[in-house]
């Protein structure tokens, strides 16, 4: 059980994985924060992301639905903000990162999904007392180390 | 002067050959822009025309028209015509005077009542009869008396046609034109100051042969007054090209450029000067370098100065502008002060708008 001590190490290990395994890991990270998002399209996207044999166009359609989910959930300019909804928005963005093709964004899909999920957790913690963000980070380390050892 | 001879017989007595007479008729036909075929008609009409009795009344006039008519400097066919028509009364030209002259006029009128031709030059004073009388008879009375039996009246010169110089403001004598007094008889105006000799003869010839000629709205024969000087002016191309004389002896004037800027009234003056010209076609005012005065137009004396274009303002415009600006500034300053007061009042009564003031009372 390799021990992950900090984000630098966490990110190094994630970026060292190949694209397909990064995608599966990203799906795991998003799955971890899925309860924060009530848009069922996102859960479908996570299923496709976590399926190692998902075809390219399945992933492409998933990416398009993810983008639609992002648009539908982002905060409206000038509207009263609701951080719980905003958490859902970041889950959707994390899901989109998971199914996005390689080289789309710096850090690769796994790291982006991790960050997105953590941001979702941060949003949840804003209006509530418990510190979701910290837990999310620890859980992500656990998921990675389990994944590496399996 | 035997009254019963026809014009043709008289001319032959004077030694005018048939050919010479026909040449004159052709010249007149072309002058009147009549077709060549009409030459024979003119000749026949002139030849058989009874010698019309003509009574020439001169009222408030400078005798310029008569001078132009007689042009004592050279005998010509026009001259002979006047010898041949029965000029029964012309107090400048006739030898008789006093009661003899008046008796001649009375008898001519009696004999040719309703047929004689009345020619008038000079305007008729209506202010006070005493201003101008002949043999104790005021011009108005004499005009009325003679006009009653006239077949037609020819007003020769701008005075008789439109009132001329006596009529110019302030018109002390209350001078009026023939047409102002006579409305029951055909009046032919032959304006000009003076009119062109050949135009007078031409009008009479046309009257003798064809009767009342076609007249424009100012009762002027279209044959001579149908076109403006401007339309027939030999300097028109310069006007069109925009080449004008700026002063009387500048380069433009010497080059014969258009005199519009020197006040030429050619564009608004209708006469035959530019075509028939004066002194047997020698020249006419514009050709001699002087702008046309518009002498054949009504009130040309008062048309705002001979040396100013007809369409430029006569008043002092810059002074008017200065007055306007002054008044405008005063009124504007007042209105500006009112506006500033009204605006500062609005600022004074301004109540700070807070988030509670964004909805109307009932909507809140």
């Amino acid at each position: 059980m390799t021990e992950i001590r900090n984000d630098t190490e966490f990110r190094q290990k994630l970026e060292s994985l190949d694209h397909a395994r990064q995608r599966i890991l990203a799906a795991r990270f998003v799955e971890n924060v899925l309860p924060f998002c009530n848009d069922e399209r996102v859960s479908r996207i996570v299923k496709i992301a976590s399926d190692p044999h998902a075809s390219a166009d399945e992933l492409a359609t998933a990416l398009r639905t993810a983008k639609a989910a992002i648009i539908d959930s982002h905060a409206r300019c000038g509207a009263e903000c609701d951080w719980k909804d905003q958490a859902g928005y970041f889950v959707a963005r994390a899901a989109a990162a998971a199914v996005s093709p390689a080289g789309q964004s710096a850090g690769g899909p796994a790291w982006q999904a991790a960050m997105g999920s953590r941001m979702a957790a941060t949003c949840r913690s804003i209006d509530s007392t418990e510190d979701n963000a910290g837990q999310a980070k620890m859980q992500q380390y656990l998921i990675l180390s389990e994944f590496l050892t399996s | 002067m035997k009254n019963d001879q026809t014009l043709g017989e008289i001319l032959r007595d004077q030694g005018i050959s048939r050919r010479g007479f026909l040449k004159f008729c052709a010249a007149t036909a072309s002058l009147l822009a009549l077709p060549p075929g009409s030459v024979t008609a003119i000749a026949a009409a002139l030849e058989s025309a009874r010698r019309p009795s003509v009574i020439w009344l001169s009222f408030q006039e400078c005798t310029g028209c008569t001078e132009s008519l007689t042009r004592s400097d050279a005998a010509s066919i026009e001259d002979l015509i006047f010898n041949t028509i029965s000029l029964d009364y012309h107090h400048t030209l006739q030898a008789a005077s006093g009661t003899g002259a008046e008796d001649a006029r009375q008898s001519a009128m009696k004999e040719n009542w309703g047929k004689y031709l009345l020619v008038v030059d000079g305007s008729i004073p209506t202010g006070n009869p005493g201003f101008s009388t002949i043999a104790g008879i005021s011009n108005v009375d004499m005009l009325m008396e003679v006009a009653a039996g006239a077949a037609a009246i020819v007003a020769v010169g701008s005075c008789a046609s439109f009132g001329g110089i006596p009529h110019a403001s302030p018109n002390p004598t209350g001078a009026v034109s023939v047409a102002d007094l006579i409305s029951d008889k055909p009046v032919i105006n032959v304006p000009g100051c003076p009119p062109i000799p050949v135009v007078i003869a031409g009008v009479l010839t046309q009257f003798l042969t064809f009767g009342i000629p076609e007249l424009d709205e100012l009762h002027r024969p279209m044959a001579f007054y149908g076109k403006s000087i401007h339309d027939r002016c030999y300097r028109r191309p310069f006007y069109d090209k925009g080449l004008f004389a700026e002063t009387f002896d500048d380069e433009g004037a010497r080059k014969g450029w258009c005199l519009y800027k020197l006040g030429c009234k050619g564009p608004t003056t209708y006469n035959a000067c530019a075509t028939t010209k004066w002194n047997e076609g020698t020249s006419f005012p514009i050709q001699s370098g002087h702008p046309c005065l518009g002498c054949s137009q009504p009130d040309f004396w008062d048309a705002g100065g001979f040396y100013q274009a007809l369409s430029i303002p006569t008043g002092d415009i810059s002074r008017a502008a200065v007055y306007g600006a002054g008044a405008g500034i005063a009124a504007g300053a007042l209105m500006g002060a009112l506006n500033r007061g009204r605006k500062s009042h609005a600022v004074r009564v301004h109540k700070k708008v807070t988030i509670d003031d964004l909805e109307k009372e009932h909507e809140k």
């Binding site: 984000d7 630098t8 990110r11 190094q12 398009r64 983008k67 639609a68 992002i70 648009i71 982002h74 905060a75 409206r76 300019c77 000038g78 509207a79 009263e80 903000c81 951080w83 905003q86 928005y89 710096a106 850090g107 960050m115 953590r118 941001m119 941060t122 949003c123 913690s125 804003i126 963000a133 980070k137 | 009124a331 209105m335 506006n339 009204r342 605006k343 609005a346 600022v347 009564v349 301004h350 109540k351 700070k352 708008v353 807070t354 988030i355 509670d356 003031d357 964004l358 909805e359 109307k360 009372e361 909507e363 809140k364």
Partner: protein
Amino acid sequence: MSGASLERGINALKEQIDAPTATFFSACVHCGMCAEACLFFTETGDPKYTPIHKLEPMRKVWHQEYTFWGKFARILGLSKPLTDAELTEWETLVYDSCTLCGRCSMVCPVGNDIAYMIRKMREGMAASGHAPAGMIGATRRAVTIGSPMGVKLPALEAQIRHTEEEIGFAIPVDVVGAEYLCTLSSMEIMNFPEYIGAIARIFHETGVSWTISSEAFEATNSGIQIGVSDIAAELVERIVRAAEKLKVKAVISPECGHAYTAIRWEGPNLIGRPYPFKVFHILEVLDDLRKTGKLHTTGKESRRLTYHDPCQISRRGGVFEQPRNLLNMVAENFVEMPENGIMNWCCGAGGGVSANERADELKMKAFRRKKAQLDAVAPDAVVSACANCRIQLEEGLEVNNMDIPVISLTETIAEHLAGETSTEARQS
């Protein structure tokens, strides 16, 4: 008698009308060219969206109050005074169908600055209770909570903590004596928190001393959008107080359009005194760093990029060369949209339109003008520098199912930072 009223509205208009306004109303010759410059007309074809027509009520107040002929006509009863019903009818014209983009002001042949007048007319509309509900809510939250979307400090602190973890170093908050005070817009804090990470990394890399103020982190100013200078002044005053307290040399306006207009151009006139500090848009700061050689980037975007000029930043703000200089540092295939820079077409959501639900349908119709521009250029991605434009572009592209990502210029610069803190170097 608190609350909005017709009388207070007309009084506000009388306060706002000045020599330029009177000149503009006296110069308009009804030539209709401003309609051809307004995307709300070009995309709907409805003549009522002709910009100068949107000012009719204010024109009437000017004519009846400040001209001899108008006053005379009113006394004779020839022209009727302004009614509340008229203002109600004009609500959708002055708010829903106008983003204050100012394109009409650029084409008017007699030179009328119509946007300048719409901004003034909104003072009368708001004071008479004719501002849209959405904007009233946002303005109320901006005054009471400090952000039109209700973002409170704890939320910002959470975002800051998250960003600090991501970038690996601290974000200065309430640092007295810093050179720059950075302000953020709620849209960024909520939808695009990466912006905070981007400026942190850039300033870290270029050694810029900066800080965020916990008392005045909000850059947006719904006061100038709704048209209430009293409220706008209060919002600006907060930033000025914070800047003075932290003794900063300059305040940076974030990737937001109207925030820049509010703090840079209207601010001093709202609070009635010049600032003791300078004001820059983030792009001005980045371009300055580029010019002074402090900002180094590596690698070039191979994707075909185009830039959408936010109206309040380029045409109404004067910041239009900087984005090009910055983009040319990081993009090898940067192509301009037809009619760009100070003559760009608006995205359709500025000037408070996006905060006004009633205008949603019209807003999407207006987007077709921008769609036409994008069709002409067919970029792989659109770069812009205003969070509200980004949201509108994303929504518009989604509705027209065009798969073009919309990215922030500042974030793109951050991604290409050459120094040690950039993503590649962080492994060491």
